[in-house]
């Protein structure tokens, strides 16, 4: 394992810039999550690191050495593809064995069996090992494709939305497993997800991509509490951050155009009146949809609240974030 560094990486497809001067350091042993909407360049970033595609300009370093022109095999990377890409002519077991049998690893037979069985256990697919890869459900295919990466100990694991088609329970299980594996082996991961919980719970670092640019990079807490822009602020937090005009509450700095308020940063009980429009009981918490001076706000409250729609409640902002006209945060 080693630090992986992207330095001013730019990639164009025709005249569309998929990655624009991205610089990113993935420290050894870290779990870096890339966030960004569809088309932001997340998959493209993984492909640059993997060696499947070359940057138009910029460099990539593994452990301080440039890997320019190196094949994926030479870089020794493992990747879970967004489209699982299992080998359809092979069984599940053969799919899992495939990387171990490569000229790169040439693993002895008993080590292959031991690793494959162990991974199958973790991913809960032991009973499907002799199935043809095409005779699986989408979620099973996805687990096999994670397994095909996890049987190896590469320089870096690249995972492109690896848990996207799993059900909630399995997803929670595998989140913990992945985190465990990473913590135990000290593996380095570059991980793409749309799932906030995955990002918050697993990441040591979060990178926010916006139209091919890396707009923020930092710890999950940092990105959550100090987002650099409205865009970055909306990438984390469930329910989403409320964005309202700056003059809704007094006290905004002069250049502020928007206020960003996390749902938990709206304190209730004092301040000004807001109308409760809808109450969503989620079990462990309750979401309130409020109407405040023609703005819609969402906040969370205690699970056993007696509020119902039509009530009024006094609210007041706590730790508001201020953004300028371009959506950049004001310090």
């Amino acid at each position: 394992m080693a630090d992986v560094v992207l330095e001013n990486v730019t990639k164009k497809f025709g005249n569309h810039t998929a990655l624009d001067n991205v610089s990113l350091t993935i420290p050894d042993g870290s779990f870096v999550v890339l966030l960004g909407p569809t088309g932001a360049g997340k998959t493209t970033t993984l492909r640059m690191v993997s060696g499947l595609d070359r940057p138009d300009s910029g460099n990539i370093y593994f452990g301080g050495r440039s890997v320019e022109g190196h094949t994926p095999a030479q870089r020794n990377v493992a990747m879970v593809f967004q489209q699982y890409s299992l080998y359809p002519h092979l069984t599940v077991r053969q799919n899992l064995e495939f990387p171990l049998k490569s000229p790169l690893l040439k693993t002895p037979r008993e080590a292959i069996d031991r690793k494959v069985n162990a991974i199958a256990e973790v991913l809960q697919i032991s009973h499907k090992l002799d199935n043809k890869a095409t005779a699986l459900s989408g979620g099973e295919m996805q687990r096999v494709s994670i397994g095909r990466a996890l049987v190896r100990t590469p320089q870096i694991y690249l995972m492109d939305e690896p848990l996207s088609s799993l059900d909630a329970k399995l997803r929670a299980d595998l989140r913990i497993e992945l985190k465990n594996i990473q913590a135990k082996s000290g593996a380095t991961l570059l991980y793409v997800t749309h799932d906030q919980i995955e990002a918050m719970t697993m990441a040591t670092h979060i990178g926010v991509l916006h139209e091919g640019r890396l707009v923020q990079f930092g710890s999950p807490r940092e990105v959550y509490e100090h987002p650099v822009s409205i865009y970055a602020a909306t990438k984390l937090g469930q329910p989403r951050i409320n964005i309202i005009p700056a003059d809704t509450f007094p006290g905004a700095p002069s250049r502020a155009v928007h206020i960003g308020l996390r749902p938990e940063h709206i304190t209730q009980g004092s301040g000004q009146d807001a109308l409760v429009r809808r109450v969503e009981h989620l079990g462990d918490q309750t979401r309130l949809h409020l109407s405040f001076r023609k703005n819609d706000l969402i906040t969370v409250t205690d699970a056993h609240t007696r509020l119902k729609s039509g009530d009024t409640v006094k609210i007041q902002p706590d730790k508001p974030l201020y953004f300028d006209a371009a959506g950049m945060r004001l310090a």
């Binding site: 993997s50 060696g51 499947l52 094949t71 994926p72 095999a73 020794n76 990377v77 493992a78 990747m79 593809f81 489209q83 699982y84 890409s85 299992l86 080998y87 359809p88 002519h89 495939f98 990387p99 490569s102 000229p103 790169l104 690893l105 095409t134 989408g138 295919m141 095909r148």
Partner: protein
Amino acid sequence: MSSYSVTEPSGRQKLFAGTLVILYALITILPLLWIIGTSFKSPSDAIAYPPKTFFSPTLEGYVNLFTTRTRATEEDVKALGEPTTWYDRIVRKDGFIIAGPSRFMERFSNSIVIGFGSTVLCIVLGTAAAYAFSRFKVPLKDDLLFFILSTRMMPPIAVAIPIFLMFRSLGLNDTHLGMILLYTAVNLSLAVWLLKGFIDEIPIEYEEAALIDGYTRFQAFYKVVLPQAMTGIASTAIFCLIFAWNEYAFAVLLTSGTAQTAPPFIPTIIGVGGQDWPAVAAGATLFLVPVMIFTIVLRKHLLRGITFGAVRK
């Protein structure tokens, strides 16, 4: 209520379809049965009118196919003593003695060498070219593909004379190599086009996965693309073999001895001692066997083609 399914045909539909298929199969197989039947008739049964459906089978046709015979006087036959083998006996009955083996085995093995040789070469070159056309940025790709196909826009025999002259100056006349190269050249355009279609269907993600898994590009091709292209390769190989196997005009023109294949040879059997239709039919029957075996061996891959759509992304 009878169960109704959109995709599953009803019993009556199945019966109708089955009947049609069987009828069609009978019509196609009839000439084959006729030839096979004729190969077991005696020469007089073979030309009997009206044709005989029932006859006493004999191997005379096959014996005549594999031997050359001369008419012998009774003293000569006597001097030879009793016939020692079953085929001696068949020949003697008509007052002939066996002079030696015919050239059929040689021609037949020429057919095998040239037919399978050109098929293998064609598949190797065709797969490589199709893969390159499918995966790489080839300059002028579309023009090249069109150009390749244009070689099939006239009957190959139209260029017989230039080929004949070329072969003569290259010393390829009547050689196995020459015929293999010629049939490969004729089949290659079709092979490239067919195979490119099949390889295009294989998502590139599989090769990328193999590259990530530690394989080189060539190993990825070999381990991942080839197995998935087997359906295409099998059907293309059958097409190539059938063309090379049955080709007549070039074989007549360019081969006469060493490299002569079976198609120009079989009709010459007629000439020896009258109209020997059973021997011709025997030659044709044996001639069918290799292509049939080849097709049956590859059938497994052809059928798999139907389930090929199970590739999921």
